[in-house]
């Protein structure tokens, strides 16, 4: 079979080449040069070298070898840390979802009581979302001390940034007609939101909350590295003490938790359409 020729070439051979192939004008030429310069200098800046990578391979192989078989020695401790990690993710997400609801209402154009509140809510959500969760964790470790509570607060703020945005979007996209029908019979704003907006946005909000839980589970693992509770600290200690067999147990445990939460989330999403 003959593949069809590109239409511009076959239909009108005398036409100018597509813009992609045209000689670039000066501004885009300069932009390309700058872009390539940036890539080159970034390669230099990161010390990116295939040589060093190849030299490091035996080390990786050695660590991988020492990781196997995983050590079952401190399984009880690892198990407890894993449970703590999941608790952090669960409570952080739960509190975050609850707090996202009023914030999302304020951040929804047709539901907000005032334009100023709309902009304030949008800005808050954007701020929470933009600052990485590890930085929230550092701040809360200083504020409330080392331990899982700091991590839970960091996850809560991160969840508000995530859910606040998508809840508001879900509410914005709901059909206005039933809401107008309730407004027409004199229902108050909170009744319209509870009885018409939330039921319509619920499937989307539930899916968002489950994604938030998955995201929180993954990040609660890392938060331990800054002392904000969870299994991360165990992993760090094992690695620093060169106990690679123990580290592999922890990594496997994390893998099991993340996959379990993802599977449970997928199952729940399928059931709530």
């Amino acid at each position: 079979m003959i593949p069809p020729a590109p239409p511009s070439a076959s239909l009108n051979p005398s036409a100018a080449p597509p813009p992609r192939f045209a000689r670039p004008d000066l501004p885009s030429f300069v932009a390309w040069v700058l872009f390539l310069g940036l890539i080159v200098s970034a390669f230099k800046g990161t010390g990116f070298s295939a040589e060093d990578f190849l030299a490091g391979l035996p080390g990786i192989a050695r660590i991988a070898g020492e990781m196997f078989p995983p050590s079952l020695e401190r399984l009880d401790k690892v198990g407890l840390a894993l449970v703590e990690t999941f608790h952090m993710a669960l409570i952080g997400t739960f509190a975050g979802v609850i707090l996202s609801l009023p914030l999302a209402v304020l951040a929804t154009r047709h539901l907000t009581p005032h334009a100023a509140l709309y902009h304030a809510a949008r800005a808050t959500i954007a701020f929470f979302r933009t600052v990485p969760d590890l930085i929230w964790a550092l701040i809360f470790v200083i504020a409330v001390g080392l331990g899982p509570f700091a991590g839970t607060l960091a996850i809560m703020i991160d969840t508000i940034g995530f859910c606040g945005r998508f809840f508001a979007e879900a509410m914005e996209e709901t059909d206005r007609a039933p809401q107008e029908a309730l407004g027409a019979i004199g229902a108050g704003r909170s009744s319209v939101i509870a009885a018409a907006v939330v039921p319509a946005a619920l499937p989307s909000m539930l899916a968002t909350s489950l994604f938030a839980l998955e995201k929180a589970t993954r990040s609660s693992v890392v938060l331990g590295l800054v002392g904000a509770g969870g299994i991360g600290i165990e992993l760090q200690v094992s690695m620093e003490l060169f106990r690679y067999a123990e580290a592999s147990t922890i990594i496997l445990a994390i893998l099991v938790l993340v996959i379990a939460v993802e599977q449970a989330g997928a199952w729940l999403r399928r059931r709530t359409i």
């Binding site: 007609a177 107008e180 407004g183 019979i185 004199g186 039921p199 319509a200």
Partner: protein
């Protein structure tokens, strides 16, 4: 006045329209309502009419004649530019906030479609009528409603012949059933007057007749005041005691059924378009 004279009156731009006397006491009095939309032409240019207690009145007019606008103005869902609207003894244009909502609560409103919250049951949707009576959170969902309210909502469903479908989700109801649930919600509201904007325009003829017959029955049996817009001359003559027709933003015909006939109304439509 004969229909022929009515048409003469309709022809004369400034001529006094034919007046149908409303039954006393008047529950809705519209006086000299004007409304232009920004950038658009003038939709209402001094429309006046009145509806008496227990009346069934049809509002006719070509597409874009301003029927929906007029009906919405009666509840201030659209703000008229000028004029006076007295609804159930209150100057609706003078009301704000809670007092406006309280006045709206006494009026049922049935839209052409999308009256119901799709993901909730028929019973929950009927229950929402109680929001008009200040039931608040108790009337959000059937599952959390007190027994007394649920029983009353079920009774309202029974009065529209849908007691069997109480648990059915609103988005699984047929078009005719949905409109009957919307009527049941108005009953739950204990509305003193029901405004309906083309309540059967998206239904098939049989379902349309059924819903119109329901309105007529509630009007006859329970004395419900009923103002509806329609493009169906048959419905106007069959289910209303009086018909009002809009043309050029004003009331061109306002006559009791006895003085109207299909030919003159069809003629009116032809002259309007």
């Amino acid at each position: 006045m004969t229909p022929a004279e009515a048409l003469v009156a309709a022809e004369a731009p400034m001529g006094a329209p034919m007046r149908g006397a409303p039954v006393e006491p008047v529950v809705l009095a519209v006086e000299d309502i004007r409304k232009s939309f920004p950038g658009g032409r003038r939709v209402l240019a001094g429309a006046s009419f009145a509806v008496g207690k227990g009346e069934a009145v049809a509002l006719l007019g070509a597409n874009g004649a301003g029927k929906s606008t007029l009906l919405r103005c009666c509840l201030r869902l659209i703000e008229p530019d000028s004029g006076r609207i007295e609804l159930l003894g209150a100057d609706i244009r003078a009301l704000r906030g809670a007092r406006l909502r309280a006045q709206r609560a006494r009026v049922g409103f049935v839209f052409q479609r999308h009256n119901l919250v799709p993901r909730l049951s028929a019973l929950s949707n009927v229950l929402h009528g109680a929001l008009a009576r200040g039931a608040g959170a108790a009337a959000w969902f059937q599952a959390t409603a007190p027994k007394r309210l649920r029983a009353e909502a079920l009774d309202c469903l029974d009065r529209v012949g849908l007691a069997d479908s109480a648990a059915m989700r609103a988005d699984r109801l047929s078009g005719g059933q949905s409109q009957r649930v919307a009527v049941a919600r108005a009953l739950m509201q204990r509305a003193e007057i029901v405004l309906a904007d083309e309540p059967v325009a998206s239904l098939d003829p049989a379902a349309g007749e059924e819903v119109m017959a329901l309105f007529a029955e509630l009007n006859a049996r329970e004395g419900l005041t009923f103002l509806f817009t329609t493009h169906s001359i048959e419905h106007a003559l069959g289910y209303a005691r009086r018909a009002i027709a809009l043309k050029d933003g004003r009331v061109a015909i306002d006559a009791p059924r006895a003085e109207l006939d299909p030919v003159s109304l069809r003629d009116f439509y032809e002259r309007s378009s």
